[in-house]
């Protein structure tokens, strides 16, 4: 097969169908950008899960002096050194507990300052207002209930919190956004496929003279179909490239600049550029293959060989 001949045929075909080609490129770009976005969102959720689940499981907040005056849980006053020792010992006895960290009021205060240093509330908080706590890491994070029933309501304990609950809400929200993105992607994908099929049909019709002659002189069906499939693949490739640009720009504008989430939300560790770049080849390959397969299927119907 002679490349020059095939390439010139593709060029003619694409120019003849310029508006259609443009529509295909845009719809492929959007659906692939959504696809890539959904993948990245999932990566983001996973990264955050790994990061947070590793750090926190259950927090047991101990009573402070302030709690003793305004809460009924700590009616017996601030936690004593005795109680702390007992709680720690009991925690370590539990077989499901992997590790127990103690966080003093000063440490809690330091962490708080670090996170909310600039805000107004941080300047009026003093170390003795921060609760001491035990950070308990469980072998199986699902066994939270066991710790909760054992320690909730005990003297000197303000509350037992499964910190996963807070994260789960966030993750669930992200997942919902993800599902919405996937649904939108599927819709765009269907539109893209219909556009491709229609483009191929128009293209096959406008070149029925050529294909008819090719058929008569015995050109192989591969040779006859090739320009059409390459046309679709070419549009798909451009669309895929646009999708990549959208993804890179998206990460750039959301995280690094523009919205600048990286600085706004220091607690969230965002996915790195490596993860974003790793998705791009997949986006390109799908952009190349999906339209080609659609064109191939459309040709079976509209181009009798």
């Amino acid at each position: 097969m002679r490349a020059q001949f095939v390439l010139s045929e593709i060029g003619v075909g694409l120019r003849r169908n310029l508006t259609m080609t443009f529509a295909v490129i845009v719809s492929v770009a959007l659906s692939l950008a959504l696809f890539g976005g959904a993948l990245l969102m999932r990566e983001q959720v996973n990264t955050m899960k790994d990061y947070w689940y590793d750090k926190v499981n259950v927090s047991i907040y101990l009573c402070t002096k302030a709690d003793a005056t305004n809460g009924d849980k700590c009616a017996k006053g601030a936690v004593t050194a005795e109680q702390k020792k007992q709680i720690e010992a009991d925690l370590k006895k539990l077989s499901i507990v992997e590790n127990v960290y103690y966080e003093s009021a000063e440490e809690a205060f330091g962490r708080y300052q670090e996170q909310y240093g600039d805000t107004a509330i941080a300047s009026v908080i003093t170390p003795d207002q921060m609760p001491e706590s035990f950070r308990v890491k469980l072998k199986d994070p699902e066994k939270y209930k066991v710790v909760a029933t054992a320690f909730e309501g005990r003297d000197g304990i303000e509350s037992v919190q499964d910190q996963r609950n807070i994260l789960e809400t966030l993750f669930n929200m992200m997942r919902s956004v993800n599902y919405a993105a996937v649904a939108l992607m599927l819709l765009m994908l269907v539109i893209a496929l219909m556009l491709i099929i229609n483009t191929v049909r128009v293209s096959a019709f406008s070149r029925r003279r050529e294909t008819g002659i090719m058929r008569l002189v015995g050109a192989s069906s591969f040779y006859i179909q090739m320009p059409f499939i390459m046309e679709a693949a070419f549009s798909g490739l451009i669309g895929g490239a646009f999708a990549c640009v959208l993804l890179v720009a998206g990460r750039y504008l959301l995280v690094d600049h523009g919205l600048n989430l990286a600085e706004q939300m220091p607690l969230v560790n965002f996915i790195g550029w490596d993860v974003v770049l790793a998705q791009l080849p997949l986006v390109i390959v799908i952009g190349l293959l999906m339209p080609s397969v659609a064109a191939f299927i459309a040709l079976r119907k509209y181009l009798k060989v």
């Binding site: 050529e210 002659i213 002189v217 015995g218 040779y223």
Partner: protein, 229 residues
Amino acid sequence: MIRFDNVSKSYPKQNRPALREVSLEIEKGEFVFLVGSSGSGKSTFLRLILREERASTGQVHVLGKDLARLSNWKVPHMRRQLGTVFQDFRLLPNKTVAQNVAFAQEVIGKPRGEIRKAVPQVLDLVGLGGKEDRMPGELSGGEQQRVAIARAFVNRPMLLIADEPTGNLDPQTSVGIMKLLDRINRTGTTVVMATHDQNIVDQMRKRVIELEKGRLVRDQARGVYGYQH
């Protein structure tokens, strides 16, 4: 070269079959006229040879191959050994004469050097030497048909199928086309030509096959167009 054994062809949604139990044989190097009124089955006969259709019953052999048992992907290879010419020329209007002929070789992947040699040769043969760079629109009907014949013949087919090649041409031009087809036939290529042109058939005195309502009603060596005309 071509053998029909009890071939019938019916199309869906048509109660009368287009061909009914046709049996005949065409030898290598023959020149055969296919005559009959419109709807007699001439086109179906040609389409079966080109394997654009498959026979409903019976067997069609072309170039020694049973077309019913020829798989789809081998059909292009079979068609490379056939040349086809139509009433409406079927040239590409945006390509020159030479490009039109070269197209038939390009699309089956012939090497460029071979194409460059074969195209002027075949254009000389059909009497279009010097008109390589003209566009089909600038040519007369007869010349356009010569381009189509050049395209059909450039791959040196064993068999040339012509479906009313003179149907759009005046009598004088038609004679020129027939001389050309006769010359091609003399190189050893079998020619099967469907026609309505009584004068041509009567002048050429070749084998005549007549179809009527899908049946073979006459197969005559050195025949004429019809008794009643």
